[in-house]
Symmetry: C2
Subunit: 314 residues, 2 copies
C-alpha cells in the first residue's frame, strides 16, 4: 500500500486527497495552518460520501480511514512515495516549501506541484533533488475532471515524469505531457483562446453572453466532452484531418486573421458581462449553482464510465 | 399541421428533415437531382429508426410518413410555412436558388439558408422578399446537436428572425442570434480560436495532438457540455465573473499576448497532425469511428434529456 503526502489542505489539496484515497492510497494531510486540518478532513469525507451517492465509489468508510492528519511536515513526508504540493501561488512561498519538501521527502519520492501559473524551473533550480520535481497540474475538482498536466523543468528527469504519469494513470486520472515550460501550460492556453474570442464577440456586440454560452453547451461542447478538437475535424471530412484542412483551412485562416487583436478585459466589458450573468443568475444563487455544476459533473462522469471509449482514451 | 420545404437533400437537408418530421411537421423534400430523392428519404427513415433505438423518438412510422418527395421546386414550396435551403456553398448557386425560392414560396413563408460561410446579404439584396430571408445555420447532425445560428442581412425584418427563433425553439433546437454578419458567425469563430491555439501548440512541439485532444475531452470539454465559457468562469471565483476577471485577467492577458500569431496550416504541420491521427486511427476505420461518434452523441443527448437543466437553457 502506497502513501501520498498532501501538502496544503485547501480546496485543491482536499480534491487530491479524494483522488488518492478512493484508489487505495494512504493519504497524509498537512497544512501550515494545522488547526484547519480537522475541518479539511471532514470536507473530504463529505465529498467521498457524495461520490458514493452517485455510484462513483463503493466504500466511503474504507477510503475515509485511509486519510490521516499529519502534525508536522516531516511526519507527513516520512515514508511517503509521492508528494503533492498545494501552497498559495506565490513564488517566495513555493521556493520555501519546495526547499523543505526536497530536504525531508524520501529519496525515491517524486514531488509534484499543483500550480497553474508557476513553472517548476522558477523554484527548484537550486535544490539537490531538482530532478524529481515537476508540475502536476489538476483541474478542479480533480476527482470529477481527470485531466492532469505534467510539466517538468529543464532538469526534471525523464524517469520523474514517467513515474508521475504512471501514478496518475493508476489513479484513473488522464495525464498529458507539456513538453516544455510555457505560460498557462496547455489547458489554460486553450481555455484562454476560447475566452478571448468569446470576450471579443461580446465586446463587438455580435452575440449576448447567454447566446455565446449556448453555442458551446448546445453546440461545440457536446462533441468535445468525448472527442478533442483534432479528432473532431478528423471525422468531419471524408478523407480525415488533412482533407478537412484542405477544405476549410482557407475559412479558418480568414477568420483567424480577425482574431489577433486582444480585447482588454476592462471595466466596461467585464461590467457588461457581469451584469448579463447576474440577470441569468443572481449573486445569491452562485453557491447553489456550484452544487448544480458538481451534480452535473458527477452524473456526466457516471455517464462516461458507462459509455466508455474502448477505442480511444476517454 | 405545418409544412416545411427542404431544398437540397444532401446530408444537411436530410438532417433538417429529421428535425422537422420528429416534431410533427410535414416535410417536403426537394433536390435539383431528383433521382437521388428516394435514396435520401431512405437514409432519413434509417436515422429516425436509430433515434427510436436510443429512446429519442417514439413513433418512427408516423415521422417517416410525414416526409414526402416533391417532384418540383414549386410543388415543394406550395403551402410550405417555412423553407430551409441547403444548396452547395457557392455564391452563384445561392443567388439563383434564393431568387427562385423568393419567387415561388408562400408570401408568409420565412426562408432560411443552412450556409456556414455565406452571409445572407450576398445573395438576397435584390429580392422583393429579402426581408424574409436569413441564415439558419445548423451543426451537423442537427437532430443530435441542437445549436442553430440565426443571422439576418441588414434588411432582414425583426419579425423574420423572431419567427425563425420560435420555429426552432418549438422544434427543440437551441437558436442563438448573431446580431450582425461576421465571417464564421459565432460557432465557427469559437471553434477556430480553439483550433488555432491547438495548431500553435502542436507546431511549437508543446504537446502531441493526442494530448491536446485529451486536454479537451477529459478536461475543458466536460463542463462545456452543460455550461458555456462565461458561466464556467462565473462559478470559478467566489464573487462571480467580475471577481474571476480580477483574479485571472492578468494571466489570460499575458497568455493572450502570445496567441496573436496565426500559424499557417501548411503541408509540414498538417502532415504531422494527419500522421499522428492515422497512428491513433487508421484511415480504414474513419467511417466506423463516425458511427461511434454518432452513438456517443445519441447517448449524450439521452443523458442530457435525463439530467436537464431546469435553471438554464440546456
Amino acid at each position: 500500500m502506497r502513501t501520498v503526502a498532501i501538502i496544503g489542505a485547501g480546496l485543491i489539496g482536499q480534491g487530491w486527497a479524494i483522488v488518492f484515497a478512493r484508489r487505495g492510497w494512504n493519504v497524509r494531510l498537512y497544512d501550515v495552518q494545522t488547526q484547519g486540518l480537522g475541518g479539511a478532513r471532514e470536507l473530504i469525507v463529505q465529498q467521498l460520501a457524495e461520490l458514493q451517492r452517485y455510484g462513483l465509489l463503493e466504500d466511503v468508510q474504507a477510503a475515509a480511514d485511509r486519510v490521516s492528519i499529519a502534525e508536522s511536515l516531516q511526519a507527513a513526508l516520512a515514508g511517503a512515495d509521492y508528494v503533492q504540493e498545494n501552497s498559495p501561488e506565490r513564488l517566495e512561498i513555493k521556493r520555501a516549501v519546495f526547499a523543505e519538501l526536497d530536504q525531508y521527502a524520501e529519496p525515491h519520492a517524486v514531488i509534484g506541484s499543483s500550480t497553474s501559473s508557476l513553472p517548476a524551473s522558477e523554484y527548484t533550480e537550486s535544490l539537490p533533488g531538482r530532478h524529481r520535481c515537476l508540475v502536476v497540474h489538476p483541474v478542479n475538482p480533480p476527482y470529477l475532471i481527470p485531466l492532469v498536466e505534467l510539466c517538468g523543468a529543464p532538469w526534471t528527469s525523464p524517469q520523474t515524469i514517467e513515474t508521475a504519469r504512471q501514478i496518475m494513470q493508476e489513479l484513473g486520472q488522464k495525464p498529458i505531457t507539456v513538453r516544455h515550460e510555457i505560460e498557462g501550460f496547455v489547458l489554460n492556453r486553450l481555455q484562454g483562446a476560447l475566452l478571448h474570442e468569446a470576450f471579443r464577440l461580446a465586446a463587438a456586440g455580435v452575440a449576448s453572453a447567454e447566446d455565446i454560452d449556448t453555442t458551446i453547451k448546445d453546440g461545440l461542447g457536446l462533441r468535445w466532452s468525448f472527442m478533442g478538437p483534432f479528432e473532431t475535424i478528423d471525422l468531419n471530412a471524408p478523407g480525415g484531418l488533412a482533407d478537412y484542412c484542405a477544405r476549410y483551412g482557407g475559412l479558418y485562416q480568414s477568420i483567424g486573421a480577425t482574431q489577433s487583436q486582444l480585447v482588454p478585459w476592462d471595466e466596461a466589458l467585464v461590467g457588461s458581462l457581469e451584469q448579463q450573468r447576474r440577470e441569468q443568475l443572481p449573486a445569491s444563487q452562485l453557491q447553489e449553482r456550484r452544487f448544480w455544476r458538481d451534480d452535473q459533473l458527477m452524473k456526466l462522469m457516471r455517464h462516461k464510465n458507462q459509455t466508455g471509449d474502448k477505442h480511444g482514451q476517454s
